[in-house]
């Protein structure tokens, strides 16, 4: 038992953090939101070079995975920097394609394209995130996995860097049955992203309240401000072990608990961050908005809190029969 990230895992996180800090993601997020995917695709390539998209792909298909802990490590950093695009969906696509042991030819080919970063994928269930930007649009239909011939109706979301699309009908049947464990990868990646989003919101807010003076003192010296931030810190710090515990077990209930706790912590941190920034935090021009709106979106994506709670209770039912 050593429930701490290894030196390699810490170094992986630090290298992604440094790379994304240098890349200045906020401007890539803004251009992505405006429909210009150039900067986002460039970031994508660099993340692929760092191996991020190979983590969910087995070695037999040009990947290095499955490595869920490393995936969680990476997605915390992606969330911390608000990297745009169908990140979780590309991981989910890989998990779907890798999840069927028979793995038909087109699936194996696609897997290798995903792992290398050549292809950006999205998955519609029913909506597909950023289907207007993705190279591969999968659609989950009645338990089957299809490759749709594209997506339409890109609609702007409250998180302006996300556009939900609808996969086009038809296309090619890839798998006759959705591999049941694949959703766990989407939830895990989303939970990790949420932890990173929450951490960024907290860091920025701590910095802000240390600077912002009202009534003659930094507002960070007000006890009400301190306690809200302390609560955000506590919620995030206790969601983090759930995340890595889930990555280690990949147990459906552990993953659901992590997804629920991480996303609730990130969203309540977002509410705190907005409140403590005041009006400036409410503007689209303040970078904070990139994380604020993402916290809400992640909470809904791939299992809302009540769906996660249902999974936790279902698992407890299985392991803990009642005594009468």
């Amino acid at each position: 038992m050593r429930f701490l990230p290894t030196a390699e895992q810490r170094a992986f996180a630090a290298s992604l953090d440094a790379m994304l800090t240098a890349a200045g993601t906020p401007s890539a997020v803004r251009s992505w939101a405006a429909g210009d995917h150039t900067a986002g695709r460039a970031l994508w390539s660099r993340l692929a070079d760092a191996g991020v998209f190979a983590l969910a792909v087995p070695e037999s298909c040009a990947g290095v995975g499955p490595l869920p802990v490393e995936l969680a490590v990476a997605f915390v950093e992606l969330g911390r920097h608000a990297v745009p695009g169908p990140l979780v969906e590309t991981v989910l696509a890989a998990a779907l394609l890798a999840g069927d042991p028979r793995r038909p030819d087109p699936a194996a080919e696609l897997l290798s394209a995903l792992a290398s970063g050549r292809a950006m994928a999205t998955v519609g269930a029913p909506y597909a995130l950023d289907g207007d930007a993705a190279d591969v649009v999968l659609a989950l239909r009645d338990g089957e996995v299809w490759r749709a011939p594209g997506a339409r109706d890109a609609r702007p979301c409250l998180d302006r860097a996300r556009r939900l699309t609808t996969p086009l009908p038809g296309g090619e049947l890839l798998l006759p049955r959705t591999p049941p464990a694949a959703l766990g990868w989407a939830r895990l990646a989303t939970a990790a992203q949420a932890i990173g989003v929450g951490a960024a919101l907290l860091d920025r807010t701590v910095a802000h309240v240390g600077r912002r003076v009202q009534f003659g003192v930094p507002i960070g010296s007000f006890q009400a401000v301190k306690h809200r931030l302390a609560d955000a810190k506590i919620a995030l710090e206790f969601a983090r072990p759930l995340l890595f515990g889930a990555a280690l077990t990949m147990d459906a209930a552990d993953v659901a608990a992590a997804k629920g706790a991480a996303c609730e912590a990130a969203y309540s941190t977002a509410r705190t961050a907005l409140q403590l920034h005041g009006a400036i935090g409410y503007t689209a021009e303040c970078d904070l908005s990139l994380w604020l709106t993402k916290a809400r979106a992640l909470r809904t994506a791939w299992g809302a809190p009540h769906e996660c709670r249902a999974a936790v209770l279902a698992a407890a039912l299985a392991t803990d029969p009642p005594h009468h």
Binding site: L158, A224, Y282, R309
Partner: protein, 379 residues
């Protein structure tokens, strides 16, 4: 103690309901925070005004119906229940008009109010400055005496509606050497189209320019656009805060209608258990706010005042509104993510509720110190 409106108020309610049923647009207007939507909402104000429904609480001579605060509550219930559009003139109606009625000259009222009532002139507020958010006493924009008036310079921010509005009102420091920060302020109206005014729209979370920064460079305003005595601006601005303002800032009708819409949505989606408690609490909360307003209105009608109780109202409605909209989005799930959904703009608007009009932290300080008598902290 009773909850029965008098027959005249009920007749008024029936008249309002009938008019609204015949006039409320069948489809929601475009967002108020767009050029197109602003124009549509301005036209709606004119339509209201044509039948004297835009300013029911004003005297008849200015286009109103002389409705007292109780009748105003009735009107608001009907207005929001009918699904009528948001009010583009809210800032003028809620902040400037009460000030003019209390401190304006007859000439000012005659000049300003009629065009406000019709939406011909839409007013923006210009209170906050970059370094003065909840701490309004830290204002730095200044008014310098000039021949027959004042020259305004400085920077204002979070000016709601200013991206599309016509005129604005706010506080400027006219006596820089005043011994206390609340003294030496000028309450003044000015033209947003003045060449000395630069309006820089600011997008809120959804990108829409719901407010703006104003840069003023020696903007001349004649003495006739000063309200009250120079130097007394703080008192002028605050005097209306203690009475009806605490009640009329956000009417209960709004939340009653929203809670009913939420309940309908919930049932339409099959009454899912996971939001049951919050739907019930929204209904109860809206009812509590309505009844509380009736109590405050009763007190006002007997000559009483609403003071620091307004701070309790502010916290209550802003948190009710936010939970209500969060619940709607939770109910909608994936559908709730779209920026153009039926509840989305309301959610974005509700997110600001705990921040503006005195952040809720400040309101809680006020409740603790003025209503409970706790010792003032350093804050």
């Amino acid at each position: 103690m009773d909850l029965t409106h008098c027959p005249a108020d009920e007749a008024f309610r029936a008249e309002a309901r009938a008019w609204l049923a015949g006039h409320v647009p069948a489809h929601p207007l475009p967002s108020l925070e767009t050029g197109e939507g602003f124009a549509a909402h301005r036209a709606w104000e004119a339509e209201l005004a044509a039948d004297r429904w835009s300013v029911v609480s004003w005297p008849e001579e200015y286009g109103g119906r002389g409705a007292d605060v109780m009748r105003w509550l009735v009107f608001e219930e009907e207005y929001w229940a009918a699904g009528a559009p948001g009010r583009v003139s809210q800032n003028g109606l809620g902040l400037l008009a009460p000030t003019l009625f209390e401190h304006g000259t007859p000439e000012q009222r005659a000049r300003v109010l009629p065009s406000m009532a019709t939406g011909e002139v839409v007013w923006a507020q210009a209170w906050s400055e970059p370094e003065a958010g909840s701490d309004l006493a830290a204002l730095r924009s200044r008014a310098v005496r000039a021949d027959g008036g004042w020259l305004l310079s400085g920077q204002k921010t979070w000016s709601s509606r200013a991206a599309f509005a016509d005129r604005a009102f706010g506080l400027f420091r006219s006596g820089p050497g005043a011994p206390k920060p609340h003294q030496g302020l000028l309450y003044v109206m000015f033209d947003l189209q003045d060449p000395g005014v630069t309006v820089r729209p600011i997008g809120r979370l959804d990108g829409r320019p719901a407010f703006a920064e104003l840069f003023l460079d020696e903007v001349f305003v004649p003495d006739e656009d000063v309200i009250g005595e120079p130097g007394e601006g703080w008192r002028v601005a605050m005097s209306t805060a203690g009475s009806e303002r605490g009640l009329t800032l956000r009417s209960p009708g709004r939340y009653l209608a929203a809670a009913r819409r939420l309940h309908t949505l919930w049932r339409t989606l099959g009454s899912p258990e996971h939001v049951r408690d919050r739907v019930a609490d929204a209904l109860s909360g809206a009812r509590a706010y309505q009844l509380s307003a009736y109590a405050h209105a009763s007190r006002l009608l007997e000559g009483g005042t609403v003071g620091a109780e307004a701070s309790m109202n502010k916290v209550f409605w802003s948190e009710l509104d936010l939970v209500l909209h969060e619940t709607a989005l939770d109910l909608l799930g994936e559908e709730g993510q779209f920026a153009d959904g039926a509840w989305s703009e309301g959610y974005v608007f509700a997110l600001a509720g705990p921040i503006y009009a005195g952040a809720n932290e400040v309101q809680r300080d006020i409740v603790a110190e003025r209503l409970l008598g706790l010792p003032r902290g350093r804050r």
